[in-house]
Symmetry: C2
Subunit: 345 residues, 2 copies
Amino acid sequence: MTTTNRQIVLKSRPEGWPAPGNFEMREAPLPEIADGDVLVRALYMSLDPYMRSRIGTDRPPADRMPLDSPMEARVVGRVAASRHPDYREGDLVFGSLDWADYSVAVGAKNLRPLPDARYDGKPVPLAWHLGALGLPGMTAWIGVETATPVAGETLFVSAASGAVGQVVGQIAKIRGLRAVGSAGTDAKVDFLTNDLGFDAAFNYKTATPDILSALQGCAPDGVDIYFDNVGGVMLEAALDAANLRARIIACGMISQYNLARDETPGVRNLTHINRKRIRMQGIGVSDHDHRQDEFLTEMAGWLASGRVTYRVDVADGLENAPAAFVAMLRGENFGKQVVKIADEA
Amino acid sequence: MTTTNRQIVLKSRPEGWPAPGNFEMREAPLPEIADGDVLVRALYMSLDPYMRSRIGTDRPPADRMPLDSPMEARVVGRVAASRHPDYREGDLVFGSLDWADYSVAVGAKNLRPLPDARYDGKPVPLAWHLGALGLPGMTAWIGVETATPVAGETLFVSAASGAVGQVVGQIAKIRGLRAVGSAGTDAKVDFLTNDLGFDAAFNYKTATPDILSALQGCAPDGVDIYFDNVGGVMLEAALDAANLRARIIACGMISQYNLARDETPGVRNLTHINRKRIRMQGIGVSDHDHRQDEFLTEMAGWLASGRVTYRVDVADGLENAPAAFVAMLRGENFGKQVVKIADEA
């Protein structure tokens, strides 16, 4: 084992679009661990849109990732050294750790063993533990439940080929809904309908004559549930297409994260919320930690039976994490964005 | 009894602000009534912001009030003639009827007797049956319930001296909440705190340096429930001031009703809904008709005990209804806007 560690720290807070230069790689000695701690060798690391709001200035200072400290991420890794009775060297684990080759899980906090999960007769790819079986999958699962779906209704999800969206659409089908998705390339749209079983999908960047028309074409009976990952003009179209008593799950608004407040056009048709008696609900998966085992059991069952599949987009190498993060915010990823940090062996 | 009837009909659909010229008074013969019908002499008529959306072009044609037909309103009146076994000449009734001196309630549909209700030892003023005991009061009652209030929380209501708002604030106090209101004149603000028991209130037109600061000054612990009657910039401020897991009741958005969609600035901070896990819920009192008796019983109790009071703004004469309607949309009313059509005797 090496004696040095690589970490990526936040060097400056972006205004507007972040750039790789907001981050910096640094080397540090491999830390000693104390009694109760676990040293984890990262294998895969998750990049998530919510991180954007933690590195900027729009949240209260206490909610920001600190400067000159390693960025945080969900990581799948292997125990490199353990002084905790529940973990042994070589164990595969999931944790909230650093953007780094190695992290210390002090007191094994925020660490858990990887659940058993199989797909197509084999253990699922490790990166899926950051996706379908990770926070994105659980966010989708909680969000669809929060929408109180009724079989036969139409669910529309934006960023539908992304980390959360692909699970939302597949759960929608399992729940007997019509699943409609939007994405930003024709290849993604084909993936939704051909590989994930969406009933219809459209490319919002080439929608003709506009997004609303494309959405209405895909959802001829209107939208009963809108699972919002993007906000902005897509939310506005969904409000227009929404049926009476529609539910909107406010999961994320990635289209807004890199705009100053006075740069956003604003959503101008919120009167629909009143007139159509819409319920719009913000969700945060961390409110539902106590249901993680229930989620993992159900999702593992869906994966084992092939009812849910998952696509990841793998950036290779810790050093490429900042560029991959920025590209993800621009929608250039195809599937859930992860960074491969080391080989599994 | 006269043999002619006066009615106000919709002559043209406003774009932007309506004007009295969108309406026209016409005379018609007093109608004959058939078996099962009731002829009602209107005494007071309710003017409500929602009517704006029914006379314009932004709703589907089926939801619009028709041209050249009498406008509809909630009316308190006296039975002038009855061929229905449940109603006798002279009875006081509440109904959905015409902007007119006389209306026929065909089959006594949408008609009900006035409930017994007393205030300060006397029967409540008749106009209160269009306010505290009418749809505005029931809207407030349903809306506060929908917000799932917890004693000690802060509720903020806009248009707080209006038809719905004054009841919202008083129910908030009954439920053990801190009640904060906004209104558009200093006299209204004084009324909220001096007469209705609001804990704090502000004049949004003179708020210094801005609405958000004024709101935060009145709600130092943040906003747990925002009862939205106006939308637009007030909704934006409420989202900024909202606490984690706040609830927003979308009751109305009067600031938006007279603007074309591309004239509204849009709401630019909806990311708060996700980040703060806010629930925003549109309500419509017509979804809750089956709970009317329960509402009337509770509200009559509050009025009888003096825990709720109510202010009406009376325009005198059917012929003045169009001007009063437009003035109400501009916020020139002080209290719930009604039109007195005839003396009670």
